[in-house]
Symmetry: C2
Subunit: 267 residues, 2 copies
Amino acid sequence: MTKQEIISQIKKKESFLCIGLDTDITKIPPHLLKEKDPIFEFNKQIIDATHDLCVAYKPNLAFYETMGAKGWESLLKTIEYIPNHIFTIADAKRGDIGNTSTMYAKAFYENLKVDSVTVAPYMGSDSVIPFLEFKNKWVILLALTSNRGADDFQFFESNDEKLFEKVLKQSQKWGNEENLMYVVGATRPEMFKKIREIVPNHFLLVPGVGAQGGELKEVCKYGMNKDCGLLINSSRGIIYAGNDLNFAKKSREEAHKIQKEMSILLK
Amino acid sequence: MTKQEIISQIKKKESFLCIGLDTDITKIPPHLLKEKDPIFEFNKQIIDATHDLCVAYKPNLAFYETMGAKGWESLLKTIEYIPNHIFTIADAKRGDIGNTSTMYAKAFYENLKVDSVTVAPYMGSDSVIPFLEFKNKWVILLALTSNRGADDFQFFESNDEKLFEKVLKQSQKWGNEENLMYVVGATRPEMFKKIREIVPNHFLLVPGVGAQGGELKEVCKYGMNKDCGLLINSSRGIIYAGNDLNFAKKSREEAHKIQKEMSILLK
């Protein structure tokens, strides 16, 4: 998917919501457990109920890998079921030496057919570049994450430059705003100002709104650019809004609340 | 597996060789392609031919994920087939926020039943600690990797401390020498001296010998400790030593060459 196509969808739907499909067999409504593939059935109903309110879905790979081969099948069916105009993100945090990253890129872009993969930067250029060599596919590189442990290394500072700033700068030699986005957590909205000085035009994937405590309005105040430039993710707050026969309706209500807020923020 | 069990195996086999199972469907001998599960059949024959010469096997997850659900099945069968006394490493370079890392840990330790997982440090404490909470299981944390891109961020320096040194120091607050090892590439043997000052007793997993150009003798000179303290990985050099009906015999010959060298270095 191209950057222009993502922007068009945001304008059309008045939404920059990404829904995280962190689908956990122990948390889905019990009546689904009698289905042949409960994980897919859950995702299918969530997608049916929310696809007009969001512009991206982000399955979290850990939740599928924990189900083994069966989980991989559920994931594949889920990706196939998502309408083509919706951006898909494999939240996988991958990254390895060159030939291995190429293998991961093939696994995600060619076999799973997602539009993007989240990638960890620690191993540097040759761990990231193989993911950038696929037409109309995206790397979403970890820059400043939303978790507590982000403090351990991401703020490591050399000559007034923090590690996450170095990641933002260095990676612009490898990709551009047409194939590279960054993960920036919503839990540190004050950091968006500085980040936008380094990457004014790139899209940012922002987790941490909702369950992790981030504030949508604050993030937009400092993080939004002329193209919107944000994909705001919510996972647990939407998909686990209900736990009975009406769970999908409940998830739609939650997604709708956020979409209405986004519609105002886009104006 | 406990640290003492690993040390016992090293003494018994006079080997600290880890064989990397980077099994690529496009590189295995063509006669295997008629098998129902060519990837598993290849691994099985490699394991049969080498299990008395090595103390660890390290499947590289990317090579299995690229085969989708079928790849996951091949991986599971491979892990089950490896004799119990041999240490198993899921080379997966995972790491995510706490609840997601817990999911990955379950996927690897409980479902795949491997002894260890390689983990990327960028997201800090709560991305690593969930992997350390499983009895007799190990985290192998990326410190200094063998690839070219390692220069991009791992040597980032603050107050005379490089990022990879900070990773070595900080992570010792989370784990200890009984559940935490580090990845240190063989392509920089001169760095082992400094690394051993920070982590004198931890095991180090050392990739990069062979195909990537690292030198076994040099690594041992600076990296070995009183318990040996090294697991030296070779992947392509061993498993792709031959490409015909005799491939497993050829892989044994290559593994044997390294084991004989290791036997001398252990004395």
